[in-house]
Every structure is written in structure tokens, then in C-alpha cells.
């Protein structure tokens, strides 16, 4: 079973939930692996502290134009859907904007004069690690200045062990990096907070996962006694509430230090047991 933990809004506690769930299941001896798919800002390793077993570099292809063979016909420029080829016919000028290139191969296909070849460009790294209990942890990290982490996410997920429960910590938002991660999941947990910000972004995330026809449920993090627009919304929409995690200074402090609160607090232990039961793990 593959569980994707996402949120819409940043900072609601995706990483909190996913690392605690991982450690909680691991503690019971359940086979579990973990992938940090927030490849722009991966944080899970600060908590899981896995031992690095190997590191793989993720590349993309970049076209190289041989201007001696190029006839400046402009076909590659016309085929590029991402405006990554700058072309001025009269001046016989052609060049590639590296950061706009999506590595689709359209220019290579377009060129009739064998003037385009490809070179490799590094996008980031995927680390394969092992927890103290021997379970696999992977994370991805994009290089600074790289526009999209999608390829690094795909490479990271491919390194999971394909046995037992797999937890994917997704990037924030609802655009392509999140959708890429969610597309790998059998179930999506959306973590939100009981505020108008949380609700607004939860609705966007719900719309996204419903559009992808994924099964999903919601965890409300940092719940308090005050007004809670999220619970009302969940009831009205008939969305499963997996758990409410109360705001607790102690939990916030442990977490800020990189500790795993579910291993420290019996209240939190009960809440995660409830999540486990509802997910039928």
C-alpha cells in the first residue's frame, strides 16, 4: 500500500505526519519504507536520520546544436513547446535556454539534418538510506536554480522497496510536483490546519485528488478549542476525518528539535493507532 501525505498549504504538518507514521509503524515491526518527495526542500531526513547507503545523480538531456550542420530552417524552434530554443533566421542565430528545456526530445525528432545531439545536465540527487531498524528511506534534492523537481521525484519513488507500506511525503501546493507524487499513491492523506487558510487550500487539494480519482482522508493538525471551519466542511462533503491532532507546545518543541513526538507522547500514540486502524494497515 502506497500512502501519499500532502496538504495544499505549506507548513501544515505533512512531514510531521509522515515521519511519525513511518516511525510508528516501524516500531510495531510492520514493513515500511519512506520517500521524501518534497525535493525542493526535503526535511524528513532531519528526523529520520537514515544511514546513507548510496547516492544517485538525476540527469536530464539537453539538446546541443551543431551549427556547422544546422541549416537554420527553424523547425526545431517551431516544435519546441517550451520556448527553449531561441532562433533568429536572418542572423543565423540559434541557441538553447537550458532552464526552459523540459527534455521532451521534440527538437531531436524535428531536425532533418542531424544537427542536434544531446548532453546530460545534472538536476539533483537521490539518496538511498536505511533506518536503524533496517527499513528503506529515500529522498530527493533538486539543485538550486532547477525549475521543476518532477524528474527527481520520479527517480526517488522508483527506489522504494515495493513491499509493505510505502509512505510518500509530498511537496506543498497542487501543481505538477504534488500531482506527480499523488499519482503514485493508493491513498492520499491531506494534512490541514483548522484555519481559513487551511480550509481554502484543503479545498484545492480535495479538488485535485478527486480529479485524480484517488481515495483520500484528512488529518486536522494543531487543532484547538476555537472555531474550526475545516470540520464543518468535511462533514458537509462527507470526507473521512482520520484524526485531529491537538496543538501542544511540547509536541512543537520536540519537533523543532528534530525528535519524533509519537515515540515520546502516549496521547499522540493513541491518535496514530486510530489512523492506522482507519487505513487498515
Amino acid at each position: 500500500m502506497r500512502i501519499v501525505v500532502g496538504s495544499g498549504k505549506g507548513g501544515t504538518g505533512k512531514t510531521f505526519l509522515s515521519v511519525n507514521l513511518f516511525c510508528f509503524l516501524e516500531e510495531q515491526g510492520i514493513p515500511v519504507s519512506f520517500a521524501d518527495c518534497d525535493v525542493e526542500e526535503p526535511n524528513a531526513d532531519l528526523f529520520l536520520k537514515g544511514e546513507v547507503k548510496s547516492v544517485e545523480t538525476v540527469f536530464q538531456n539537453l539538446p546541443v546544436i551543431d551549427t556547422a550542420a544546422c541549416t537554420f530552417c527553424g523547425k526545431c524552434h517551431d516544435y519546441c513547446a517550451f520556448n527553449a530554443i531561441m532562433f533568429i533566421k536572418n542572423l543565423e542565430y540559434i541557441s538553447i535556454s537550458e532552464e526552459l528545456c523540459h527534455d521532451c526530445g521534440a527538437c531531436l525528432y524535428a531536425c532533418e539534418f542531424d544537427a542536434i545531439s544531446e548532453k546530460k545536465k545534472e538536476l539533483g540527487k537521490v539518496r538511498i538510506m536505511q533506518s536503524t531498524k533496517g527499513n528503506r528511506i529515500v529522498d530527493g534534492l533538486t539543485n538550486i536554480g532547477v525549475y521543476s523537481g518532477v524528474r527527481v521525484i520520479k527517480s526517488a519513488v522508483k527506489k522504494l522497496e515495493n513491499q509493505g507500506v510505502e509512505i510518500l511525503d509530498a511537496p506543498p501546493g497542487t501543481s505538477c510536483p504534488f500531482v506527480t507524487t499523488a499519482s503514485f499513491g493508493d491513498y492520499v492523506i491531506l494534512v490541514t490546519e483548522p484555519t481559513w487558510f487551511g480550509l481554502n487550500d484543503l479545498k484545492l487539494a480535495v479538488e485535485t485528488v478527486r480529479g485524480m480519482k484517488k481515495e483520500f482522508g484528512v488529518v486536522i493538525n494543531r487543532a484547538g478549542d476555537g472555531e474550526d471551519p475545516v470540520s464543518d466542511y468535511l462533514k458537509k462533503e462527507g470526507i473521512e476525518l482520520l484524526a485531529k491532532i491537538p496543538f501542544d507546545h511540547k509536541i512543537a518543541k520536540w519537533y523543532s528539535e528534530g525528535k519524533i513526538p509519537v515515540l515520546e507522547s502516549s496521547d499522540l500514540h493513541k491518535i496514530f493507532y486510530e489512523i492506522q486502524r482507519k487505513l487498515k494497515i
Binding site: K9, E40, E41, L46, I144, Y147, W196, F197, G211
Partner: protein
């Protein structure tokens, strides 16, 4: 005209509340919510939208099965694992399609066409002391950076025509395309960090991306009282790296209460200590 961007690396550090507060400390502001896939600024500033425009951000491939001969050539060319063949039937997964059109071009039976996304929108709306430019990117769409650039161009045009001096940009989390589009060419970058190990880690990446685009950012430490040791660690790291910490804000429920009341802090709690602290910080950014 001055453009100031507020970013964070990690999400949830308080960018939106802090930038909403800043926007109220000037007489007139042009505000941009550049977090186009999870915009929140409109909840606080409650704009009265006078522009709602479609943004055609992306395209994806669609198969006409009356024409498809199931040759599988498209699948062999697709580099995004977006096309699979199941018992002969060719399937395109929209979520994985990046809209490169190569499948359409290689198809021998012209069975593939491109469909545009018509769900994304951008808006401009009057707020109490200015205008808010914001947007809503359809789920799973590429090109969030392009949408941020569009908002910035529209905001700049508005500012020029109306002699506005200040554009304030509330950025998105991360260091990818929307953030790069947010900070490209602005006059100043401010990073909001919180007192957690994760936020410190993400701060370093946010600083790196700022430097890549020739900015020397200033730093605000939010919720420092959650963990003063880590807050000190962040300050030390900033000093070592010649970055100025322009303010430290304690954890305070007034932020949460103001969001629930859908108001910026200066309107919700004008007399509070947090408000005067925010005002002092703002003086260091813009005066």
C-alpha cells in the same frame, strides 16, 4: 518604484500574515500573491475583484480513439511516462503529460490533439489601501512560474499608470519555478524563517536561490520563542553568512486569531505588541 519579495523556503512560517501586515503600514500598496497554487492573501485582504481573466497555462494530449490504430509509437517517444498501452489500448495520463506535443507529431493517424487548460484564473481586486493581484492555477498544471510573471507584469503596469511606489510580493514555499519567478529582478528579498530545524535547513536553500539571482536577502525569525536555542542557531548562521536578521517575532496566538477573523494584524490588533514589532521590522525594509 520598488518591488519587495517575501519568501520562506519552508511553508507555514508566516509569510502571508506578515506580508499582509506590512501592506497595511503604507498609505498605498500594490500587492501580489505569488503563491499561485495555494493563494491565501485574498482571505485576509478581501479584495473586491474588478478583473477576472482566464490564464491558459498548459496543454495536454488527448487521443481520438476513432482514429487511433494502437501502434504504440507515441508511447515509445514520450519521455514523461505519460503514455502506456494496456491490452492494445493506448492511454494518456493527464497528470504526467507536460504538453510537449511530440506524441501528436509522431502519430501516423493524426489521432492525437492538444487540449488547453481553461480552469486557471488570475484576478485583480481593490483592497483597503490599494490593489491585490492574485491567481488560481488549475490542479496539476505546469507553468506556475509563468503565471507569477504574468501577475508581476500586470501589477507593474498598474503601478506605473497609477504612480504607485511599492509592489509587495507574497511568495510561495520551495525554491522552484514560482519562487525563481518571484525573486527575478526585484529590489529586495526578505526571508521569513521559524525556529525549527526544518526551517533552518530550508532557509539555507532559500538563501542559495536568492544569491543565484544576485540578491542579499534579509531575514525575519518568526515564532522564535518555540525554540530559543534553534532561534540562536539561526541568528548565528545568519551572522556567519553576512545576512542581517531584521526582526524576531515570538510565538503569539494573535496571528491565528487574526486569520480566523480574516483581518491583517494592524486592523485586528492595532494596539498589540506584535503589531508594533511588525511595524518596526517594516521600517527597516521600507522607509
Amino acid at each position: 518604484m520598488k518591488e519587495i519579495a517575501i519568501i520562506s523556503g519552508k511553508g507555514g512560517t508566516g509569510k502571508t500574515c506578515i506580508s499582509a501586515a506590512f501592506s497595511r503600514f503604507v498609505e498605498s500598496v500594490v500587492m501580489i500573491d505569488a503563491d499561485v497554487d495555494a493563494a491565501n492573501q485574498h482571505i485576509i485582504l478581501q479584495p473586491d475583484n474588478y478583473i477576472e481573466e482566464e490564464y491558459v497555462g498548459g496543454e495536454f494530449a488527448k487521443i481520438d480513439y476513432n482514429k487511433c490504430i494502437a501502434c504504440g509509437l507515441c508511447a515509445s517517444y514520450c519521455r514523461f511516462d505519460a503514455i502506456t498501452q494496456n491490452k492494445g489500448k493506448v492511454l494518456i495520463e493527464e497528470a504526467a503529460c507536460e504538453g510537449c506535443k511530440l506524441c501528436m507529431r509522431v502519430c501516423p493517424s493524426s489521432a492525437i490533439s492538444m487540449q488547453e487548460d481553461h480552469e486557471s484564473r488570475w484576478y485583480a481586486g481593490k483592497i483597503k489601501n490599494g490593489v491585490l493581484f492574485h491567481a488560481r492555477l488549475a490542479p496539476g498544471m505546469d507553468n506556475s512560474g509563468k503565471l507569477v510573471s504574468l501577475l508581476r507584469t500586470e501589477a507593474k503596469n498598474y503601478a506605473k499608470t497609477n504612480n504607485e511606489d511599492l509592489i509587495l510580493i507574497d511568495g510561495s514555499p520551495g525554491v522552484g519555478c514560482p519562487v525563481i519567478s518571484t525573486i527575478t529582478g526585484v529590489n529586495e528579498v526578505v526571508i521569513v524563517v521559524e525556529a525549527t530545524q526544518s526551517a533552518l535547513h530550508d532557509l539555507k536553500r532559500a538563501v542559495e536561490v536568492s544569491r543565484e539571482f544576485k540578491h542579499i536577502p534579509t531575514v525575519i525569525i518568526n515564532k522564535y520563542s518555540l525554540n530559543e536555542e534553534i532561534s540562536t542557531e539561526i541568528e548565528n548562521w545568519c551572522t556567519e553568512n553576512e545576512l542581517k536578521v531584521i526582526g524576531k517575532i515570538p510565538f503569539d496566538l494573535v496571528f491565528h486569531e487574526a486569520v480566523q477573523a480574516r483581518m491583517p494584524i494592524p486592523d485586528f490588533a492595532e494596539k498589540s505588541e506584535i503589531n508594533s514589532l511588525l511595524f518596526d521590522i517594516w521600517q527597516q525594509i521600507y522607509s
